[in-house]
């Protein structure tokens, strides 16, 4: 033996192995990652991959079969409910494990474990919002009822059965890139996923912190005009003129409200780090048989969310001898969330209601152990949060829980201003509830009564549940648990030193806005305010008005409707707000003061057909012009607050201009000595916009799709730049958040569904991704092109007798070990 050379080469070999087994910054562990028997090559799914399998599990009570069709949609047939959800859990994990794991970790405030120090503030915010606290109370509620516990536990076991069967080489690609391993599933993680949805949909629907700033610079009257409760052009979900019952609760405004609340000035330094997108919205509508060609109702739904690859949705059919349902599910949760069964169909849009308030807390001292409440020092409950950080030291945080909930903001978070207020969050999502059971019941509902019954316990995130049945009923309920507020309550942060500003009760469920079988033969919701001023409660929210106007406009003029008409409507690009705005812009623009580019764009936009399609140049010019106008009008006023308050809604600005276009005082730029008129502002806005437009035109990007560059990015790629090879970019899509086909840059219709409830159900659907979450599979993004083109797949409600149908490509057999055959 030659000792020295041996030692040297052995050390080099070992060193190489160690270096290549470790992740360096963004570089995955190259040895492990490149090994064709272990690394990413194992995720390169063969074109003719065989998904069929014969599996045995002791957890199963009976046997089940899963048939996969040519689009990789599983049709699950099980002997009983528990087996059904075991199979659903297993299938979700097989195709979407990484997504389930990472989303719930992030929801819990554990992103730093994977992303490192840059996610610490995100994690702290999740914890301070009480996401795990909320999930724990949901888990308790899920497990309180033995029947409910059995369903969720069966799902959990199914997920874990898959995780336990995984070999290192079979780990989803993302684990190999990021170098970590999946964690066991639990009912708590299902609850975390549902709370993540609650945060996305019912946490960004208030602006309490920003409004508290804004009211410093505007009078109450001005504030009400700029952020109005009821837009002039509102077409509510419950048609205008509906008479409401006398309210069961009449909340009383505290006597000190005028001085301590409405009249109080003082700046808020807190801002939210990960405030959900305000455009999280959706469309749904239903037309009665009286308006359709077939005589059967047609139900349509397209929920708008931040799009991602893999998608938030997974399409499947779930069938037992007693129930049969088809639609999209959320990987991480049992049940079908949006879909249809043999008797009914349902869909959801977000209610946009404000169900979250902030209360100012006075701590006795920095220990946060006691706070002043009803005249004495009350103990808080302190929750110590341990945030593990990849490649860095663990971070600890202490969150004080009060009668309202967690104190989200205090002296230690965030820490960049000196005069910190302590703000506790009162959020409906913290209250115990079991939203999953609503879907369990909806999946099995046979008629209107079953549907109405299923909704009753659904608390948060509040949704507009649209409904149609084979018996011809159509209906909509806005369902959620809503605080009964006195007028103005919860628009701003409230005093939290005694009970006087607390929520005084909840609106009784039966008083939630709802309609069944209206005369006009159709119902729609598109995130607008659910009712007009006749509704007897104060219901603030982040409502979106224009899409509902467009939908009503089209539906009311249609008769003999077919599913093809509905497809066209879901893909409609008509810009209804521009229809009202263009006359104002054209009336006030002073052509003589336009620079030459601006004149050119003015001529172009004069012939615009008001459609925001992908090739539309008019839409690009309009959007730039309008956005500039909003800034010209509002920026001088709004910029007085720090952090800057949200701009008024487009709809509000437009309505103000239509109402009082010459004297509107905000038109004057308060930072210049000159008194500007609307003529000046509109002209100035086009001149400013034309600079940007000319730049884009030079790059060949004046068409709307080229201008906004729609894309769908990998789930973890929040920057939309790190994992571009796993994304689909440069999609030929038009749309804005305010047109029916509400595609924005990467946010839009996440599932389009149309169900005609004729004797044989006729259903169509499409979502912008694919069934398989593996980027190495051809089923990763194979629906994207159809979705971009506005094409649909016919949805196949398979019968158990159709196992031999040629659409069945693969079959997974699930057998119980105990069963004798």
């Amino acid at each position: 033996m030659r000792i020295i050379p041996f030692v040297i080469s052995a050390v080099v070999t070992t060193g190489l192995v160690i270096v290549l087994n470790k992740k360096w910054g963004k570089v995955p562990p190259m040895g492990k990652f490149l090994s064709p028997q272990h690394g990413f090559w194992q995720n390169a799914e063969p074109d003719d991959y065989d998904y069929s399998a014969d599996l045995k599990f002791p957890e199963l009570k009976g046997n089940g079969n899963v048939y996969f069709d040519e689009r990789l949609v599983p049709h699950v047939f099980a002997d009983n409910d528990e087996d059904l959800y075991f199979l659903q859990g297993y299938i979700h994990a097989k195709f979407r494990l990484f997504q389930m794991d990472i989303q719930t970790k992030a929801a819990e405030g554990r992103a730093s474990e994977i992303a490192g120090p840059k996610a610490i503030n995100y994690d702290r915010e999740q914890r301070r919002l009480g996401m795990r606290f909320a999930a724990e109370s949901a888990e308790k509620e899920m497990e309180k009822d033995p029947a409910s516990k059995a369903l969720f536990s069966a799902y959990t076991k199914g997920v874990n059965a898959y995780i336990h069967s995984l070999k290192e080489s079979e780990l989803p690609l993302e684990y190999k890139l990021l170098d970590f391993k999946p964690e066991e599933w639990s009912n708590l993680r299902t609850a975390l996923l549902l709370k993540m949805m609650a945060k996305i949909l019912s946490s960004g629907t208030e602006n309490d912190l920003a409004y508290t700033n804004t009211k410093n610079i505007f009078t109450q009257e001005e504030f009400n005009a700029i952020y109005p409760q009821i837009p002039d052009s509102l077409l509510p979900i419950v048609p205008k003129g509906t008479v409401f019952e006398h309210p069961a609760i009449i909340p009383v405004k505290p006597s000190s409200a005028d001085s301590l609340y409405f009249g109080k000035k003082g700046l808020m330094a807190e801002t939210e780090i990960s405030k959900p997108d305000k455009d999280n919205g959706s469309n749904n509508w239903v037309v009665a048989g009286s308006k359709t060609q077939s005589g059967a109702p047609i139900l349509c739904n397209d929920p708008h969310l931040e799009l991602s690859l893999p998608s938030i949705w997974f399409e499947m059919q779930l069938s037992t001898p007693t129930g049969n349902v088809y639609g999209v599910s959320l990987p991480g949760s049992p049940f079908i969330i949006i879909g249809f069964n043999d008797n009914i169909a349902w869909g959801v849009t977000n209610a946009q209601r404000d169900v979250k308030d902030y209360y100012e807390i006075k701590f006795k001292d920095a220990s946060k152990k006691e706070y002043w409440y009803n005249g004495k020092w009350e103990p808080t409950q302190l929750r110590r949060e341990e945030i593990k950080v990849k490649d860095s030291a663990t971070v600890y945080d202490t969150v004080a829980y009060t009668v309202y909930g967690p104190v989200m903001y205090d002296a230690s978070f965030p820490n960049n201003f000196s005069q910190k207020k302590s703000l506790a969050v009162r959020w409906v999502a913290h209250d115990p509830s079991n939203e999953g059971m609503t879907f369990y019941k909806l999946n099995r509902a046979a008629n209107y009564d079953d549907y109405a019954e299923a909704l009753k316990t659904f608390s948060c995130p509040a949704q507009n549940f649209v409904f149609a049945s084979k018996t011809g009923d159509i209906a909509i309920w806005q369902q959620g648990k809503f605080p009964a507020r006195w007028k103005g309550q919860g628009l701003y942060t409230m005093p939290g030193e005694d009970t006087s500003y607390n929520w005084q009760g909840f609106i009784p469920q039966s008083e939630n806005p709802h309609v069944k079988n209206p005369e006009r033969g159709f119902l729609e919701s598109a995130n607008q305010r659910p009712a007009d001023s006749a509704y007897p409660y104060f219901i603030p929210g982040s409502y979106i008005t224009p899409r509902a106007i467009a939908i009503e406009h089209f539906l009311s003029g249609m008769n003999g409707i077919t599913t093809a008409d509905m497809m066209k409507l879901q893909n409609n690009y008509f810009n209804t707000i521009a229809e009202d705005a263009m006359p104002v812009l054209l009336k006030y623009v002073k052509e003589s003061e336009l620079i030459s580019d601006a004149k050119k764009y003015l001529d172009m936009i004069k012939s615009w057909d008001l459609n925001a399609g992908p090739a539309s140049k008019g839409q690009t010019i309009y959007q730039c012009w309008w956005d500039s106008l909003e800034i010209v009008i509002w920026k001088d006023e709004i910029a007085q607050t720090n952090p800057v308050s949200p701009l008024p809604e487009d709809q509000t600005t437009l309505e103000l201009l239509l109402k009082d276009s010459t004297s509107l005082k905000y038109i004057d730029n308060i930072t210049t000595p000159k008194v500007e008129t609307l003529y000046d502002d509109v002209t100035d806005a086009l001149n400013r916009a034309s600079v940007e437009l000319a730049k884009k035109e030079k790059e060949g990007r004046l068409e709307w799709a080229k201008f906004k560059e729609p894309g769908i990015y990998h789930l973890t790629d929040k920057s939309k730049s790190q994992l571009l090879p796993l994304a689909r970019t440069q999609l030929n899509m038009g749309g804005t958040g305010l047109v029916i086909n509400a595609m924005e840059q990467s946010h839009g219709p996440s599932w389009r569904m149309i169900v005609q409830l004729s004797a044989t159900t006729e259903a169509y659907g499409v979502y912008p991704a694919g069934q398989n979450g593996n980027p190495g599979s051809k089923y990763y993004d194979n629906f994207v092109d159809s979705w971009v083109k506005g094409e649909y797949y016919k949805l196949w409600m398979m019968k158990s007798s159709e196992a031999g149908n040629k659409r069945v490509r693969w079959m997974m057999k699930f057998n119980t070990i105990n069963n004798r055959q």
């Binding site: 033996m1 030659r2 050379p5 041996f6 080469s9 052995a10 080099v12 070999t13 190489l16 192995v17 290549l20 087994n21 190259m30 040895g31 492990k32 490149l34 090994s35 064709p36 028997q37 272990h38 690394g39 990413f40 090559w41 194992q42 995720n43 390169a44 799914e45 063969p46 074109d47 003719d48 290192e168 690609l173 890139l177 994992l723 571009l724 090879p725 796993l726 980027p775 190495g776 599979s777 051809k778 990763y780």
Partner: protein, 114 residues
């Protein structure tokens, strides 16, 4: 002759080992074969390198054909290798080959008499 025997045996043992153990088994496989089929250090390195290079690049190439390069194109963009699957296959082979080469060299020195 020894050279080719070593290449083939290294590739075979690394493949079989890879079915049971982690990716680093290629180093051990090359090390063991170098002890079994003794060659001078340089030659041992080359045969270890070549054996695993051929194994890894060959397997990757085969997987890539069956996958229509769906994944390799994405990974070759991420790493970044200009999005070229063939470059990614070669890099795969080189990484495995280097580890095996040094493993084999260690084996050769272990058995070497002077």
């Amino acid at each position: 002759m020894k050279f080719f025997t070593a290449i083939i045996l290294t590739g075979l043992l690394a493949f079989v080992g890879g079915l049971w153990a982690g990716w680093w088994i290629v180093a051990i496989a090359a090390f063991l074969i170098a002890i079994l089929v003794h060659q001078k250090a340089g030659k041992a390195f080359l045969s270890g390198f070549t054996g695993v290079f051929l194994l890894w690049a060959g397997l990757a190439w085969w997987i890539d054909i069956k996958n229509n390069s769906i994944l390799s194109r994405k990974i070759a963009e991420l790493l970044p290798l200009g999005g070229h699957p063939s470059l990614l296959i070669i890099v795969t082979g080189i990484v495995g080959g280097l580890v095996a080469g040094f493993g084999a060299m260690s084996g050769s020195y272990l058995r070497s008499s002077k």
